[in-house]
């Protein structure tokens, strides 16, 4: 029997019923008395242009229009959509060169879909009609799409704050030679160390601009109320940090900014920081006392909200004849898009996850991030790791193939493990379930049998198997601040109200956090209730990013529960006139004396007396101990317990059509402890869907004018139900619980996306003997690669 009674149980998710009945109200479902509708007027025809003139005269004539807002009608303060500067010391922000280069309404369009002005109207339809009638005169500017164009000496400059259009790199003052990595023990740099290698493999990989494609279109309601408070209902992943940013932008103290988080219809990083909260709030401030709603159309979301980083990633790896990894170097030339937003964040993490994976004698990675006229890149599940996985995992297999070494054996031998430095310097792995992940992933796909079976193939359809491994993170410390607050308030019936700003993106976080609270208290799950998502109630929390929620909030929950239990023991001891060390918890909320079980009191009595406190009419003495019990813990996690995973894939490649079909995926994940197993499985199964999209079908395409060619579900191809491998196995490996994670748990939110990328790429290599360096691996690219290679193996 399990040592736990609540965690690990496959209970229905707490929000499942409201979601299957349609009763769950997302921001777009909100209706308020007298609500007005805001429409953002975007530039659709140019990716780069100056706004010369805005003419509202025709728009104002549309019946139902309340206000037309241009750049002068809202704050002209610059801002940055991200929360980065809040999460690092100020000195770091300066060193990295973070800038605020965005306006609510922009006088210069830097990508298609940039917002120029806005309409407020009585109906959505009137707002849309008026938006169409706004006449905007543009002066087209040269469109820059590639890094080469962006870095040219005479190239048009995106911002005077970043001369030369270099939005970011790894600053020399922190990263010698602008590289993140380490020198060899003999003092040689990564560049010098390649001379010691017997085999060097290298290639330049194109990594795609994947879109998060959360199903809920961005929607907001904002109200500048009669008390002078700015209220905003939003499905942001980071309500407390966005509250802070909104306060700063509109120069309001936090007492006058209320952020209410609505149910999140998918996030995957796209709701990390602000999207159109500034616009909704600016519109609300233009019509005080009246709520204003903005709801994006899907095509707006596609062209205007931040995507994954894309660019060219050069990777070089050196090995000894026996496979010993000597050196690994990466050079990532990244396309920023029109605005700074996350700056060097995701590319730095590409380098960091390269840092955390294998025991190279020396390693280094640089990144130059160039402004261009694409949609800006921001956060997307995996945050830099997919790029690393796509390049490095393929080169490892190429080297193993050339050296005649088993790629699985090589990975088990040379992957970092306990005691080694992880993705960030100074943070060592404290647990690793990688070996068991490899074993399970291999077993479920039938690796050995299939490997033999596919050794010598002829014919049009070639099958292959491949492996990819990965490590990720649980939270972002020490790169970024990790801070969570949990308050537990004991009700008079001895149930607990938990106040914590926990973001649930559909991941099951609310369910898992509730389970952990119940487990930590030792009480039934019905005796705890999680109240979140309102800045008026909840204390500080980072919100959801970096796969942090279960790991970081879970720890805070455990600390708070321990405090509440201690308070209960103290009151019990006082009540029973015993010492604290003489009492302990027993069944059914009883607290008993360790040496005389007749001395006992129930927590229900303590709870009731804490609130309904009376003096005994006969004696005049107070009955019980008065004062409602509240426990609070403000937790700064000082670790990030990276989880590992191994994924095996089986593919079939049609060498005449170039089509790649994934027949089977087997992903085993080092979860440590699965708090809510169906949710962990769901993360892995869904992560596979997005990983397969990255490697096989998804990218945003632009024409030469910088206009998006595929801003819809038809032209942006994601895997459908029958495209997914019918065999999509996930294994939750719990053999390596983590000493720091709550109940041993490590993260699983982002990491499932990586395994399929490396494993499918390597399975294609196994099937046809050719590596495809550009993702997504489309049929055209497969055929081109076969042609270039002069046929298959």
């Amino acid at each position: 029997m399990s040592e736990y009674s609540v965690i690990g149980q496959r209970i229905p998710k707490l929000d499942a019923r409201e979601k299957v009945t349609g009763r769950c109200k997302y921001a777009g479902d909100m209706r308020m008395e007298g609500m007005l509708y805001g429409k953002l007027v975007r530039c659709w025809d140019y990716a780069h242009a100056e706004v010369v003139k805005i003419d509202f005269s025709e728009a104002r004539k549309v019946p139902g229009v309340v206000k037309c807002l241009g750049p002068k009608d809202v704050t002209r303060k610059n801002y940055n959509t991200t929360i980065m500067k809040l999460l690092v010391p100020a000195v770091f922000s300066d060193v990295f060169g973070e800038i605020a280069d965005l306006n609510i309404f922009n006088a210069r369009v830097k990508h298609q879909g940039d917002v120029v002005c806005g309409i407020i109207a009585k109906t959505e339809k009137a707002a849309e009609r008026a938006a169409e009638k706004v006449k905007i005169e543009y002066k087209p500017l040269p469109v820059i799409m590639t890094a080469e164009e962006s870095k040219k000496k005479n190239a048009i400059q995106f911002t005077p704050l970043k001369p030369g259009n270099l939005a970011a790199n790894f600053p020399d003052s922190f990263f010698p030679n602008n590289e993140y990595g380490w020198n060899a023990e003999d003092g040689k740099t990564v560049h010098q160390k390649f001379k010691d290698a017997d085999l060097v493999v290298e290639d330049t990989f194109y990594v795609p601009r994947q879109k998060q494609v959360q199903m809920e279109n961005h929607a907001y309601v904002a109200l500048y109320d009669d008390r002078g408070r700015l209220n905003c209902w939003t499905s942001t992943q980071m309500p407390k940090l966005v509250q802070n940013l909104i306060g700063e932008l509109f120069e309001l103290p936090l007492t006058r900014v209320r952020l209410v988080q609505t149910p999140i219809g998918g996030g995957f990083g796209c709701r990390l920081g602000m999207i159109a909260e500034p616009h909704a709030c600016a519109m609300a401030m233009a019509v005080p006392g009246i709520p204003v709603k903005i709801e994006y159309l899907r095509e707006e979301d596609w062209v205007a909200s931040e995507s994954r980083a894309s660019g060219h990633f050069y990777v070089k790896a050196g090995f000894k004849k026996d496979g010993t990894p000597v050196a690994c170097y990466g050079d990532y030339q990244v396309l920023k898009g029109g605005y700074y937003t996350h700056g060097s964040g995701p590319p730095f993490c590409t380098a960091a996850f390269m840092h955390g994976m294998y025991k190279w004698q020396a390693m280094g990675c640089k990144a130059d991030i160039w402004f261009n006229n694409m949609v800006p890149f921001g956060a997307y599940r995996g945050y830099g790791n997919p790029e690393n996985t796509f390049g490095v995992e393929q080169l490892v297999d190429r080297a193993c193939n050339k050296l005649g070494i088993d790629p699985i054996g090589w990975r088990k031998k040379w992957a970092k493990g306990i005691g080694d430095e992880s993705w960030l310097k100074g943070v060592n792995f404290v647990s690793s379930g990688l070996d068991d992940c490899v074993k399970e992933a291999k077993k479920k796909i039938g690796w050995d049998k299939k490997k033999k079976q596919y050794a010598n193939q002829k014919g049009v359809k070639r099958r292959g198997v491949g492996i990819g491994i990965m490590q990720h993170t649980s939270g972002a410390w020490p790169m970024l601040l990790e801070h969570s607050n949990v308050i537990m308030r004991l009700n008079e019936d001895c149930t607990v109200e938990i106040m914590a700003s926990v973001s649930d993106l559909g991941t099951g976080a609310h369910t898992a956090v509730t389970q952990m609270a119940a487990e930590a208290l030792g009480w039934p799950i019905d005796d705890v209730h999680l109240k979140c998502c309102d800045s008026d109630v909840n204390g500080f929390d980072i919100g959801a990013h970096a796969s942090r929620t279960i790991y970081c909030v879970g720890r805070a929950v455990m600390q708070t529960a321990a405090d509440l239990k201690k308070q209960l023991l103290e009151r019990a001891a006082q009540n029973l006139q015993l010492k604290l060390e003489d009492v302990e918890f027993a069944e059914d909320k009883e607290i008993v004396c360790t040496w005389d079980s007749s001395k006992r009191i129930n927590c229900r009595t303590i709870a009731e007396q804490s609130i309904y406190s009376f003096d005994d009419p006969a004696t005049g003495k107070t009955i019980g101990i008065p004062g409602q019990m509240v426990a609070h813990y403000s937790d700064f996690v000082k670790h990030c317990s990276p989880p590992f995973a191994a994924c095996c894939a089986e593919v079939e490649v049609d060498i005449e059509t170039g089509e790649v079909k994934v027949l089977c995926l087997s992903n085993a994940h080092d979860i440590g402890k699965a708090i809510h197993p169906p949710s962990v499985e769901g993360q892995l199964e869904g992560g596979a869907h997005q990983g397969l999209g990255y490697i096989l079908s998804e990218d945003i395409y632009y024409d030469d004018k910088g206009l998006c060619l595929n801003n819809d579900f038809t032209d942006y191809k994601m895997f459908g139900a029958s495209d997914m491998p019918a065999e999509n196995y996930v294994t939750l490996v719990e053999s390596a619980p983590d000493d720091i994670g709550p109940f041993g748990a490590k993260s699983c939110g982002e990491s499932a996306l990586m395994g399929p990328i490396g494993s499918v790429a390597n399975a294609i290599y196994d099937a046809i003997g050719i590596q495809i360096t550009d993702a997504p691996v489309t049929p055209e690219r497969v055929l081109a690669a076969i042609k270039k290679n002069g046929g298959v193996k």
Partner: protein
């Protein structure tokens, strides 16, 4: 815009309303009738989030499955329309809803209403639908969270319940 007086029967309730001739069924149900169990996503029939059933005698079940964003409300005059909000009867979930809850087939939930209606339609046509048939049937409904594994499992579970109930 031309107005038109129409009657819609949504989940058994009668609504006599005046609509703009160019308004879609999604817009009317959500914005005029405030029935927000029906979700709006792409607005062009690509994602399936707004899937509903409409009575249609030409189909064996007497119902046709449609994307409500692609149908004009004016053309639905007099029709019976079924949305996810009408599946629960007397506090009891429909077997498909029940299976979605039990299998963990719901993550963010935004596609769930449309996905459930599509599953209901597949199974009303053939409760014994196999995995391939279910997957093919769900092709027009996009989910970005689950990878479809648990949705397909839920459909199989519900199929068994519905087959036994007939």
């Amino acid at each position: 815009m031309k107005k038109r007086a129409i009657t819609l029967f949504i989940n058994g309730d009668e609504y006599n309303i005046t609509v703009d001739a160019d308004e879609t069924l999604t817009q009317v149900i959500r914005n005029q009738l405030n029935l927000t169990d029906l979700k709006h996503c792409c607005g062009r029939g690509e994602c399936g989030a707004c899937t509903v059933q409409v009575e249609d005698d030409r189909y064996p079940t007497g119902k046709k499955i449609i994307n409500s964003c692609l149908s004009l409300a004016a053309m639905m005059d007099g029709k019976r329309i079924y949305t996810v909000g009408g599946l629960e009867k007397g506090g009891t979930l429909h077997p498909v809803q029940e299976a979605f809850v039990e299998q963990g087939a719901v993550q963010c939930g935004f596609c769930s209403g449309g996905m459930i209606m599509k599953t209901v339609d597949i199974l009303e046509n053939n409760a014994k639908a196999g995995e391939a048939e279910i997957r093919e049937g769900l092709e027009g409904n996009i989910c970005r969270c689950t990878g479809y594994t648990k949705i397909v499992e839920a459909a199989k579970q519900a199929g068994k319940v519905m087959a036994a109930g007939k």
